[in-house]
Amino acid sequence: MIAEAGLAALWLAAALALLQLGVALAGPRIGDVRAIAVPAAVAQGLLTLFAFAALITLFVRTDLSVELVAANSHSLKPFIYRFSGAWGNHEGSMLLWVTVLAVAGAALALLERRLSPATIRATLGAQATLALGFFAFLLIASNPFARLYPAPREGQGLNPLLQDPGLAFHPPTLYLGYVGLSVAFSLAVGALITRDVGPALARAMRPWVLGAWVLLTLGITAGSYWAYYELGWGGWWFWDPVENASLMPWLAATALLHSVNVLAARGGLRAWTIMLAVVAFSMSMVGTFLVRSGILTSVHSFAVDPSRGTFILGLLVLYVGGALALFAWRIGTVREGARFDLVSREGALIANNLLLTVILGTVFVGTLYPIFVEALTGEKISVGPPYFNAVSGPIVLLLALLLFVGPLLNWRIDRRPLLRRAIAPALVTLAALLATFMLAGPTSLLSRLGLSIATGLAVASILPLVGRNLRRTPLATWGMALSHLGVAVAMAGAACDSAFTRETLTAVRPGESVSVGPWTIRFAGVDPVAGPNWTAVQAHLVAVRGGTSDRFEPESRAFSDPPTETNEAAIRTYIDGQLYTVLGRQESDGRWQLRLWWKPYVTLIWLGGALIALGGALALLGRWWRERRQRVRAQEAWA
């Protein structure tokens, strides 16, 4: 009954999306469009929320007569993973996607009042078109509520890699981000249709971009940490196609976040901002397509199905192709914005956008290059970290250097001497560079530069706050400084990880000791342990450094349903780094393989990511607060 109710709610929501599109197309001839479109959008949001709640109920109850539950759950699975299992599979995650899309559409319809009625109408029409396509995909090609008869007696488990708290948090956050960008996309399409591109559009778009970007940042940071501790490979970014699929919309959103400010404040960068808004959500859809169609091989093994891939590709052609064609056709008629000098806030933001776009292009080409090469020559190749690191590393350094002065520049034109203001961070950078040559051992120039520029950037990021009345500084400026500081912190973490990590791969007998970095680690032996649906071999390690002594118990787990083995790394964070231990296989002579890493300051990577997101959240809050106050003031003045 619950499954059927959920399915009915989805069909009803799809019908309402059609209605919303219909009234948007009919326009003012049929009266007030908002009077029909707004309730239709809100009802879609509520109905999809109901359907999603229905799916969660089915998973929590382990209702095995539903095909999806039988294939992905198990009565022995702990409660939290039965809950998160609802979106740990293709159909469930698509339902989550559609739910977020519909709820965002409802919020857009309810809240957006700044734009002209014609643009709002076109935007709501675009949002309804997006929703319709994804409803069709869900209902025709990926029904999450399909029944199974007869019901099996036991479910087929869940990928044990996904039995992790990270899964409960990481995909929903990313989806919120991806789909939040859909609103920016609809606004851009709506504005292209009415040729109404200006500061009002930028102000309407900004909170959506900012919110989506904060969530994407959090989602990517969490995903990176999840891969780091769950896969047991000791790395934090693998340039896997699916990681790239989440990075590309983030890069586009980061560029958009900066260009939308130029449009809001100065009315400039009109065509470029519209382009980025289209590209950001397009990248989200391209990412979904790459993951779900299986045309690229990746560690993220989702149910791969070429017919589904064809369906999503059809949607991509319709939406992305349509929006890009509309852009090429219409943007020439959009008025250009105010002019500005090369040395100005606008100039710096354009440089920022160009560099981010180059990284985006690099990742896009690197991710898809294997397909192009195989299509043209039949040769199979793979593009790995060496390409991505070599190309994007130096550009990231340039971006960081740009941050030394960019945020200090005036709008339009800046005639003040540039170098005098960047002198403090520049000196700090030089001193840090000197220190890396004197103190740190042999390492690559890129990590030395990364570390020293990060140090300089930490100083530079605070400069926009220096000399201001801090109590009257807008929250958005605080947010900007915090985010830029986060970039410095994350860069420092990444540079430390690549420069100072010590790795030991070895095989030991009980009682033997090995060393990694400053640590001496004694292997006391192994014990069997068991969990609800797995058995494991647990190693006992004692790590000693100076007066510190800590126990580590990494496990090698065997899951029963489906039979899979995973490594549970034992990781401990110290003030100056992380000690990371993994138990491998037993060799034929009885010795156990151990993989040990000492990673100084590696946690800064994720701390930096969190700071970047926090800065974005502060800016969002500050803008919201300021607008509310302005509205209240305007009302008071009127009364």
């Binding site: 289209v278 890009l324 898809l368």
Partner: protein, 177 residues
């Protein structure tokens, strides 16, 4: 170039992407890396008797029989082999003739392994020094080779044959008959 043309560049890039994606969807990639040994004649190797009442296996006997065979490299000390053993027993019941090569193993450990996990092997030979493993070009255990009646390797499976791989192996086996 005119401004209009510049504006169409994103559309062109997207068109290229769609073309490549369509080509790939029409012709899905194979996820397995084809082994260089497939299509090659079975290299020479010998093994020694290790389990009572089971004959050892060698390249010469396999070639002389003119019968298809599944040759499985395994070991009692290998954890994935424990997961693989019931699948091999199942394959044997379905008519696949399996010979085992126990890599760097001892008789006592091996007999306990077979008693605990099932025994799907017609013959088992010991490979105390790993010479047979090296001759076959196997990188670890478990690995399996399907050999046709002419003594040519037709299929190479790296890692344990898990329940989800059974159908593939069975289909390859039926092709040889």
């Amino acid at each position: 170039m005119s401004r209009q043309l510049w504006l169409a560049i994103p559309l062109l890039v997207f068109g290229l992407f769609v073309a490549a994606a369509l080509w790939r969807l029409a012709d899905p990639p194979s996820t397995t890396v084809e082994s260089r040994l497939v299509g090659q004649p079975l290299p020479a190797f010998t093994t020694t008797p290790i389990v009572p009442r089971k004959l050892p296996v060698s390249a010469a006997t396999l070639r002389a029989e003119h019968q298809p065979r599944l040759v499985n490299l395994f070991a009692s000390w290998c954890v994935p082999c424990i997961a693989e053993a019931p699948v091999l027993a199942q394959l044997q019941r379905e008519g696949v003739r399996i010979d085992g090569i126990a890599v760097r193993d001892t008789a006592a450990d091996l007999q306990k392994f077979l008693a605990d996990n099932g025994d799907g092997y017609d013959r088992i030979g010991g490979d105390a020094t790993g010479q047979a493993q090296i001759a076959l070009g196997a990188s670890g255990v478990p690995e399996s080779f399907l050999i046709d009646g002419a003594g040519v390797i037709r299929y190479h499976h790296v890692g344990a044959i898990m329940p989800q791989d059974r159908a593939d192996v069975l289909a390859e086996w039926r092709k040889l008959r």
